[in-house]
């Protein structure tokens, strides 16, 4: 049991670290958000005086004379209430509402694509690693190349070939704009059609990492004594592959999920930008371009929360499938 308690404890610390980082970044960075916004206002011909400055400071939640720890306390209390501030770029919508609209798109896209690429990558890796040194090994350099391709560039190429030249799939947006979002068949089908190309991008560029890791682990596992025993017993190859080798070899891939998920999420943010997908990544960039600091911080928090949650889930699952983790503690 203590394995689970320790994992929960770790993720609580990670959560606290993320919250604190989010609090400190704007206070440690050079440059003042208020100055940036006022400069923008001035460019558009607005009049900047002390009163405007004060109202901007209040709007951004800064400009108080409280000591840092009081600000920190207020920040945590506001977070607990789910209050992330007001999104200046779509004034006066609260940040939480903006995120709420965009989040389901990203979770569906990144979630489905990640699960698909994990299953495909680990499965293919098991097969490639099963017969090392054969022609299947030539898959390895190919996937290395795929893994080194930047997500957004692959997205550009896919759009150029599949969408602009062959006109097979739409390469822009999240759904057909003539439809209004809702839970009806027509809309869901359109969302799937528009989501295929972004999902394909994520799967293609993340599959290589899984495949390579799994292949190397398979090679190591195949030299274990229990594989030899299984072969000596005369078990069928398919049984040894699935029940003995792949099962053990997959463990590090699952344990390495945390690192990989971070990369996939990072890549998806940029991919969304290429496809103008209505997800959280495009919103983050809009926020950066419009100097909407509250929205930026809110989105960073939500992404971090989602990644931490997914990792916690995988870690708990790992504790169940690998009994050694529980025995050690």
């Amino acid at each position: 049991m203590s394995y689970f308690v320790r994992k929960l404890g770790f993720y609580l610390v990670a959560l606290w670290a993320a919250l604190t980082l989010n609090f400190l970044i704007p206070r440690l960075m050079p440059g003042n958000p208020v100055d940036v916004l006022l400069a923008k206002l001035q460019q558009r011909g607005g009049i900047v005086d002390a009163a405007t400055r004060r109202s901007y400071e209040l709007l951004l939640g800064g400009g108080t004379d409280d000591p840092l720890w009081v600000q920190y306390g207020n920040y945590l209390v506001n977070l607990a209430k789910g209050d992330l501030g007001i999104a200046v770029s779509v004034f006066p919508t609260p940040v939480s509402e903006v995120i709420g609209q965009a989040l389901p798109w990203t979770i569906a896209l990144v979630g489905i694509a990640t699960i698909l690429s994990f299953i495909l990558g680990v499965g293919l890796g098991a097969i490639v690693g099963w017969k090392p040194g054969t022609w299947l090994d030539s898959l390895v350099p190919a996937t290395t190349l795929l893994a080194a391709v930047p997500y957004f560039w692959l997205a550009l190429i896919l759009v150029l070939i599949i969408s602009s030249t062959l006109h097979l799939l739409p390469g822009m947006g999240g759904y057909d704009v003539v439809l209004s979002p809702g839970w009806n068949t027509e809309f869901i089908l359109s969302a799937i059609e528009y989501g295929t190309l972004p999902a394909l991008t994520i799967v293609l560029s993340s599959i290589g990492g899984w495949l390579l890791g799994m292949r190397n682990m398979m090679v190591s596992t195949l030299s274990e004594d229990y594989i030899l025993t299984a072969q000596a017993k005369g078990l069928k190859n398919s049984r040894i592959l699935g029940g003995y080798a792949a099962r053990n070899a997959a463990l590090p891939s699952i344990a390495g999920f945390a690192i990989s998920l971070g990369f996939v999420v990072s890549g998806s943010i940029i991919t969304e930008q290429v496809f103008s997908y209505p997800g959280i990544g495009s919103k983050l960039l809009q926020a950066v371009q419009n100097s909407d600091y509250a929205l930026m911080q809110g989105i960073f928090l939500v992404i971090t929360l989602a990644v931490l949650g997914a990792n916690l889930l995988v870690d708990l699952l790992y504790g169940i499938i690998d009994p050694r983790t529980r025995a050690r503690s």
Binding site: F10, V13, M29, P141, A148, S206, G209, M217, G256, S266
Partner: protein, 327 residues
């Protein structure tokens, strides 16, 4: 921007015995001393090294031979051929010239971040594991937390807060290094943990060596292959992340990298105008460079994890046996 870090954590520990075993089977002496630290010449190493060398040469020497990348001409969006080997951009700038300078910029940032991130990971990974106790717990918790916090969103938020005029090359490099060292620190920690309990390390400690000397003389040389492979990963990570950041328009100001080239191509509607010669080459260079560096890393992996080398030796023996049987 996929995870290229190996999920396996091989140990240097069983290297010697396994190497000796392979060599015995092949009927020759194991390679002595420092030679065992060098990767053997495999096809993947040769290809990887060739690709990387070609790109580095292009980045170093290319800018000396090409035209001025900033010259604006009235021959916009020319396809490749004629006076411009890779065509021109929307404003008539030579794509090949831009490519040469951008490659240099990307290599520069990759190198800086690689060194910084490797230093950070060596500090947190090796020192923590060597000292043990509270320091180890604290350092390892710190690197694990840094590992689960997604890097790019953090980098984007930080770049968003730094005003454009202060967003120089070094700022971006430091931010990328801070978000990119954690995975390597974990690998180095695992390796150091297995090394610090070796007899020769214990012996030098008993002999009264200072901590820094034990680390520098006894432990670090044995970690060299692992550090080298982590450095290569850090360079790949840096080049890919910087490209992503620059593509979003958040890169270092007044710098030109492959990412900024793609940013201008995207904003100049290269995709809609089907000006493939503008955005295909920069991405291709990034992909080839990443691929070449990974191939080099596979060869380093074979030093760290001799089981992988045995596979190749085995395949080679099988091929020779099959040829002999056919004759």
């Amino acid at each position: 921007m996929t995870n290229l870090t190996p999920t396996t954590e091989p140990s240097v520990a069983d290297a010697d015995e396994a190497l000796a075993a392979t060599a015995r089977e092949e009927g020759r002496k194991p390679r002595a001393g420092w030679r065992a630290m060098l990767p053997s010449m495999t096809p993947s190493l040769v290809i990887g090294f060739g690709i990387v060398a070609a790109i580095v040469l292009f980045g170093l020497l290319g800018p000396l031979f090409v035209q001025d990348p900033t010259t604006v001409r009235n021959s916009g969006l020319q396809p490749p051929g004629g006076g411009h080997l890779l065509g021109t951009t929307q404003t008539g700038q030579d794509v090949l010239a831009q490519l040469a300078f951008a490659t240099r910029g990307s290599l520069e940032i990759g190198l800086i971040v690689g060194v910084l991130a490797t230093l950070l990971s060596a500090f947190f990974g090796v020192l923590g594991a060597y000292l043990g106790g509270f320091a180890d717990e604290a350092f390892s918790l710190f690197s694990n937390v840094m590992l689960v916090i997604p890097g790019l969103p953090l980098v984007i938020v930080i770049s968003g807060f730094v005003p454009q005029e202060q967003r120089g090359l070094w700022t971006i490099a430091v931010v990328l290094a801070i978000t990119g060292w954690a995975a390597s620190a974990r690998v180095l920690r695992a390796q150091t943990l297995s090394l610090r309990n070796r007899d020769y390390v214990a012996a030098s400690r008993v002999a009264g060596e200072r901590s820094w000397r034990v680390i520098a003389v006894e432990i670090l040389p044995n970690l060299l292959p692992v550090i080298a492979s982590q450095f290569v990963f850090a360079v790949i990570f840096a080049i890919l992340s910087e490209a992503g950041l620059a593509f979003l328009g958040l890169g270092a100001s007044n710098s030109s990298t492959l990412g900024t080239m793609l940013f201008y191509a995207q904003n100049g509607f290269a995709l809609q105008l089907k000006a493939w010669w503008w955005f295909v080459p920069p991405g291709l260079i990034i992909a080839l460079l990443g691929c070449g560096l990974s191939l080099i890393n596979f060869s380093i992996d074979e030093i760290i994890n001799p089981k992988l080398r045995n596979v190749r030796a085995h395949a080679k023996r099988m091929r020779i046996a099959r040829k002999a049987a056919a004759r």
